[in-house]
Symmetry: C2
Amino acid sequence: MMEVKHDPEACRKTILAVHDAMDVLGGKWKISIVASLGFGKKRYSEILKDVTGISGKMLSRELKDMETNQLVKREVVNTKPVTVEYELTEYGHQLKSVISNLADWGNTHRKKIMGK
Amino acid sequence: MMEVKHDPEACRKTILAVHDAMDVLGGKWKISIVASLGFGKKRYSEILKDVTGISGKMLSRELKDMETNQLVKREVVNTKPVTVEYELTEYGHQLKSVISNLADWGNTHRKKIMGK
């Protein structure tokens, strides 16, 4: 009897799907930005503060990419001065379980590395 | 009443944990390699075939990184010629739900992009 886990077709499909996801989420920052916006609508400056280490230029670029891929919505609010807010689209929100699993794993990893 | 989702402390912790995870899983290939090994122990050449587009040199480097971070185990099998096999450690296996969620999302993304 064949072992199901060695199913090459299922394996190939999974790798392809993961690859597609990482095409959109790849790079150093996007997943952190999704994690930040998972806690609600935010101003540009708030995201910049949340995502430690990102530059303003890089944040703008990443947010633009994510807007193109329909992960985030950008809204200009008519305050004085004007503020720009970002929030996850419904589609972006579907990454919630990915983010929460990654965070759980990251916590475990931190404890492991620190020798608990 | 404060909205829980705007809890800055929880937000900061989640972003930090995600960042820790991406430190280990970052780059173009590691998540795909974990996806490949999620389907069982494999020889080097099998992983190379699974992960479309990766070069041999890059695969060696990524596997070495992943061994250092205790995500994979390397085993030299005393065949003629010698074969080298890799498998996920128990710790690497804990990424299974991350991979499966990413794959689901990637599938949805593919359909969306292709206009379904």
